[in-house]
């Protein structure tokens, strides 16, 4: 049975379950899958409609996408990776340090990030980018490039 011959509990074997419980587990997993699929389809529809409706880059759209992403991530971690049913202490040992560290990194980027230079520091950027992006924003083509033609038409 086990690779080891000691009295330590065999958690690998203890996590086995019968037909009855398997059925319950499977129905939960499929439900999680359908919810995730619905969220993804919803995101794609919104993302597809965004450019035509002027939603691209709005703060509420960004908030919506990031929140839906976190919902999906939670579904994967808690049900697919089974963390929701592990021992409480283990759950927190995995999640809490990670979340704290991520928030800390974001905080540092937001506060100390100003030292990386300001917009005036953009001297190394190809000036053509600026022209093209401005042209896109104003809804007409700049400089005769055809690369973003389709996009420019959309903005009219």
């Amino acid at each position: 049975m086990s690779e080891f011959h000691d009295n330590y509990p065999q958690y690998e074997v203890m996590s086995n379950h019968g037909e009855e419980e398997g059925k319950k587990t499977r129905s939960v997993l499929w439900k999680v899958f359908w919810v995730m699929l619905a969220i993804t389809v919803f995101e794609l529809v919104i993302g597809f409609l965004a450019p035509g409706n002027g939603w691209s880059g709005t703060w509420w759209l960004k908030t919506l996408f990031i929140s839906l992403t976190i919902v999906k991530a939670a579904a994967i971690v808690l049900w697919f990776m089974h963390l929701g049913h592990e021992a409480k202490f283990f759950k927190y040992m995995i999640l809490v340090p990670y979340v704290i560290f991520m928030f800390y990194t974001i905080f540092i980027v937001l506060t100390e990030g100003t030292y990386s230079g300001t917009v005036d520091h953009h001297t190394k950027i190809d000036p053509i980018f600026k022209e093209q992006q401005d042209a896109l924003k104003h809804g007409h083509q700049g400089g005769g490039e055809a690369a973003h033609e389709a996009a420019a038409v959309e903005h009219h």
Binding site: E12, I76, F80, E86
Partner: protein, 241 residues
């Protein structure tokens, strides 16, 4: 799981048992995943930082990723939607393989792991296709100042596609982050497929049936779900926002 007897929290750290009620292999797979998640977290946060820094010249994903196989029209998001569907689907088949393993159902594990491997290969293939079209670029291209090492000066010319220094979509940083993060994720998917395949062979051989548990399937399953988890974030930050 419900099968583990309730342990008094005061007794839990007394030795002779795992206070986490987990076998060591699974415990250390989780530790590894946390460290890997820190790497991806760092990459994505730095991506967000650079993107914000160059917000005025950052390309919009809906203008860049518009191709779909066998279709001439430009359909933004459709292809990456398909890739996301493939990966979520393969995550479900993986978790069903783990569940079958808990019932010692060898045939079930073989079936579901097979589909997981198929899904993984389909995803890696899709990513290769996506990279290919990103690198060769569009037919029209865009005007760029391209560095000419022979003369040591920038030359204005129409440029197609992307590499690490010049790309037609916008600032070079965009292509750099795209290559690095999706490449790093793609490497994870590829190694996941290889590891899944090794475990798949062991399942066919009956190794875990003899051992009395399918925890190895569960461990590679954790890794596979982690790959899916990362993709959920990459999908949002590169394609949706």
């Amino acid at each position: 799981m419900a099968h583990t007897a309730e342990i008094d929290s005061k007794e839990a750290w007394g030795g002779g048992q795992s206070p986490f009620k987990l076998a060591y292999g699974k415990l250390f797979m989780w530790f590894f995943l946390v460290s890997d998640a820190l790497t991806f977290g760092g990459l994505l946060i730095s991506y967000g930082f650079i993107r914000h820094k160059y917000a005025d010249v950052w390309p919009k994903a809906e203008h860049v990723f518009t191709h779909f196989p066998f279709v001439q029209q430009h359909i933004p998001l459709a292809y990456v939607g398909l890739m996301t569907f493939i990966l979520i689907m393969s995550s479900v088949t993986m978790v069903l393989a783990v569940e079958a393993g808990h019932r010692m159902d060898r045939k079930g594990v073989i079936t579901w792991m097979f589909w997981t491997i198929v899904g993984g290969l389909a995803f890696v293939g899709s990513q290769a296709w996506e990279w290919y079209h990103f690198i060769i670029g569009t037919h029209d291209g865009a005007l760029r100042n391209v560095w000419d090492p022979a003369t040591g000066a920038y030359v204005k010319q129409i440029w197609h596609g992307a590499n690490m220094v010049t790309n037609e979509y916008g600032v070079p940083q965009f292509a750099n982050y795209f290559f690095f993060i999706t490449g790093f994720h793609g490497t994870h998917v590829f190694s996941g497929v290889v590891i899944n395949f090794v475990i798949f062979l062991n399942v066919i051989k009956g190794t875990y049936q003899k051992r009395g548990h399918y925890e190895m399937v569960e461990k590679v399953g954790l890794y596979w779900h982690f790959v899916d988890l990362v993709w959920v974030f990459v999908f949002t930050f590169f394609y949706l926002l």
